[in-house]
Symmetry: D2
Subunit: 174 residues, 4 copies
């Protein structure tokens, strides 16, 4: 019997969350990056709101696709399954190899251009979870994942900014 | 003895060309797409100029990186080495999975925005080599490669347009 | 008395729709492009669904921003208010000037990468309203608007694709 | 007598440099941003090399186009020539208006994805000339220009990275 293919969006969504967790990334850690990036603009911002924003970003199909692909590449790199010279470039997170940033930007794009600044800032300063992912001494390879997590955090920052504007306008309307 | 890593740009460049050939894509076929896309604007355009443009595009590091990564993913998909649901999405070139287009656009970007139109047109009409790569009955998987080859052709179209403008201005200058 | 600035999202949204209308573009015309682009995949697709998709895309802030800026530039170009050589390049929709495509792509990005193909195809084939906007003999300048309208249509195509998938999965779930 | 239009690339190039200078931006200031961004990686990097990189970036047509358009919009904003609500959003460099970042990213794209990080970092930390351009108390409007200058600097950082790699490989080859 031939099984016909059909996309199962729920499986894609849950796989993205499971893979993220399996690679050691907690949603709360991403929320902390968001808090760090946005609290200066919104003093009343709560960790719960940041976590909610992260979950919203992770509910987007484009974001799930990028996470699945990036984590898969990281795992195969860890297992030494890629052909040279790609294997070597990815093991060493080669600076002149930019496909990881490309994939990350497709996440940032989903919530608009205001995420670019935060993405670049996170990528340069590597706060919190990004520092751990970027640690080359653990034996783990997160060449794609560190950029993707930074992009999810940056997109959540955008989401917060849009949401806070809507709240402010709703209040003024009263 | 520890071997330190250092990027070898020549190896990256030659690997990109070899992998392209190993996956059955001839540079002449890409040049034909360029000819098809640009000959209406430049009646004197020769196949040699198109081939030269394709080679120029392929000499760019960003393009080589995207080709190596995309072809690697295609090969691993063919071998069934990816985890579900990514494996299934890539085998079936899932329409709502857009990371292949994302990677392709990073190629188009290198020669500027005028390549976008040609990329989309090639991707929709699938002329020549793109039709063959997109054939799902061969058993081969080219989920990434068909978009990447279309992007190389679109970038070469941009290169031709810039080059022809330079030639026209040089002639008028005399 | 100093009036402090605060963003009024409703004004931005309504201005985008009004400017579009003032420049002679009907939402129904954009919906027709969507119908043309997607009806082969979804035989039961209705014009109403396409129009609904167009309205959804136009409700996004990023899309409104790009429309306002692009239409403003077109109007100023028509009035001859730009400095040379920018004025000349925009009057003649210079092929090697790609900022109009750049702005259009920021619209396409909002609904993910699957819109790129349709954008390029519309831009190359110029169906319906795009042909009229692109007509250089009317005296009107739509250097930016034709690309932006094509991008709105392409994004609405993406929206339809995502929506139809959700419907299919909901049906199968029953 | 009808004058036919033809693109004059030299005029476009020189206009971009003149407008940059007329808006108070010296190439040496951009070079300083590059020095600041790259000197930690290349201790022997000289200001002359940074200035050379900036000039290279500015020689690209896509970059010139974006500069001309962005500066033109800034000037028209300063003169109050735009329609509301666009005028107000641009005067106040509205955080949720991202077309300036979009245009800037088209510059960053030219030298590949490794520029994104530096662009975001410059945009967040606003060093040197960017702080002056971003000063809202001068009466001048640089809503687009501050992002564009940051993007030129970020692209020049990419150029330096590619160039230094080529030098290192040439040395090892000997």
């Amino acid at each position: 019997m031939v099984r016909t293919y059909s996309l199962d969006s729920k499986k894609v969504a849950s796989a993205a969350l499971e893979w993220l967790s399996a690679r050691g990334v907690q949603l709360e850690e991403i929320a902390e990056l968001v808090m760090q990036g946005q609290s200066e603009y919104y003093p009343n911002l709560s960790v719960e709101q940041c976590l909610e924003a992260v979950k919203r970003v992770l509910s987007k199909r484009e974001v799930q696709n990028a996470l699945l692909l990036g984590i898969q590449i990281d795992i195969l790199t860890e297992q030494g399954k890629l052909m040279p010279p790609l294997q070597e470039m990815l093991v060493h997170d080669e600076k002149l190899f930019g496909c990881d940033e490309i994939l990350a930007l497709s996440i940032v794009n989903v919530y608009g251009s205001i995420g670019f600044t935060n993405f670049g800032f996170f990528d340069k300063t590597k706060p919190g979870v990004l520092d751990r992912l970027n640690n080359k001494e653990s034996g783990e390879i997160h060449t794609f994942l560190d950029d993707l997590v930074g992009a999810v955090a940056a997109s959540a920052c955008s989401y917060i900014a849009h949401r806070k504007q809507a709240e402010a306008e709703a209040t003024m309307g009263v």
